[in-house]
């Protein structure tokens, strides 16, 4: 009988068979990587906002405290988005007629709210409470990043469950003294040592039960 296949098919077929196994592994790895890529997580992807509000300017230049605008962060699950009134407290005086702030003034005149684009956004089945985290010494910057260096607001972390667990499993790696919570550029010289002290001082539990966040 005559040959059906050319010599080259030998190599081809072997490569394709044994290479196939490698391919499967590669695909899984790729999928895992893509899931964590900014393309899906929006980490450090700034959003267009009705007003080009700069946290950098207001926090580091003007030194305004987080709580001046995010009023309920210490008392409620919801940190609070500043009402137009709060903006106007200052901007009725300064930059009172800057065209950039027209949307603010317009909202104040018409009483129609400004529609900000949400940056930090959790799925509907996750219940996150700002107040308890703040009270237990989790700094704003720990989750939101150095907001004081963000001209435009963007997400610093994936907000994935695996990310939440990093801290819920080992709070000592992240907690800081309560008085430093709103301090953007606070650093511990020895986080672990301090962390352990604080964890016992603040009675911080390792809450990894499902119903802590899902109910």
């Amino acid at each position: 009988m005559a040959q059906i296949f050319h010599r080259s098919t030998n190599t081809l077929s072997r490569v394709s068979i044994f290479g196939g196994l490698g391919l499967v592994v590669a695909l899984v790895a790729a999928a895992a990587a893509i899931n964590r890529a900014p393309y899906l997580t929006d980490v450090r992807v700034a959003r267009a906002q009705p007003v080009q509000f700069s946290h950098k300017h207001h926090v580091s230049d003007d030194g305004i405290d987080c709580r001046y605008c995010h009023t309920s962060v210490e008392r409620s699950a919801f940190a609070g988005i500043p009402s137009t009134k709060i903006c106007m407290n200052c901007h009725s005086q300064i930059w009172a007629d800057s065209p950039m702030l027209e949307p603010i003034r317009e909202s104040f005149r018409t009483g129609r709210s400004i529609e900000w684009t949400r940056v930090h956004n959790l799925p509907g089945f996750v219940y996150f409470d700002h107040s308890i985290h703040v009270n237990k010494g989790v700094g704003c910057a720990t989750c939101h990043g150095r907001v004081d260096q963000m001209p435009l607001m963007s997400r610093e972390n994936t907000l994935y469950m695996e990310w939440c667990l990093e801290c819920h499993r080992a709070p000592e790696r992240f907690v800081r003294p309560r008085e430093e919570v709103f301090n953007m550029n606070w650093r511990a010289e020895d986080q672990l040592a301090l962390g352990r002290k604080l964890v016992s001082a603040y009675k911080i539990q390792k809450l990894t039960s499902c119903s802590v966040c899902h109910h």
Binding site: A2, Q3, H6, R7, S13, T208, S209
Partner: protein, 181 residues
């Protein structure tokens, strides 16, 4: 010169009608001192492999290793998940409820062992090999039907076109063919 010849001819092939004839021929060839010989048959024939001098078989070892990997890996996967990765109280059972880890461990043992067996087989046999010189022989297609072939390869140090051909004729086969490379 010899090198050139080798490049042209892969070996000499003899055709037989019965398995017995093939086995006999194989034994004689080996007795003659040929080492690079191979026999082809449409179904496995006891003693043929031995006749052409094949003894050590690595496959069982490979399968054993595969099984061990599957077993240990399988158990560790479960142990890691429930004891290290996310320890959580499920139905008041201990984190390491090893009796409940047995089934998956067992299945993975079998799975990896079986994969090892098949891929080991392919690897050792050098398959897939869709192209092979012996296919150049017209009558060889009967090797998967009802004919039995013996091939003495030119790689054999003792191989010599004339001498070998004479030797094979001595085996009174149904036919003799040159196998081009």
């Amino acid at each position: 010169m010899a090198g050139v010849k080798r490049n042209i001819v892969y070996g000499l092939m003899a055709e037989f009608a019965t398995p017995e004839a093939l086995v006999a021929a194989a034994e004689r060839a080996r007795a003659e001192g040929y080492r690079r010989i191979d026999a082809y048959s449409p179904f496995p024939i006891d003693g043929l492999a031995e006749a052409i001098g094949f003894h050590r078989n690595l496959l069982p070892l490979i399968v054993l290793i595969g099984g061990a990997v599957g077993c240990l890996g399988g158990f560790y996967l479960q142990y890691w998940v429930h004891v290290f990765d996310y320890p959580i109280n499920v139905g008041g059972r201990p984190l390491n409820s090893w009796p409940m880890f047995i089934p998956v461990t067992f299945e993975l043992t079998i799975l990896v062992a079986a994969l090892a067996a098949v891929f080991g087989l392919l690897a050792l046999n050098g398959l897939p090999m869709p192209y092979h010189p012996v296919f150049n022989v017209e009558r060889f297609e009967l090797a998967t039907r009802n004919r039995f072939f013996l091939c003495i390869e030119s790689r054999d140090v003792k191989f010599d076109a004339e001498a070998t051909r004479r030797f094979i004729e001595g085996l009174n086969p149904e036919g003799i063919y040159d196998v081009e490379n």
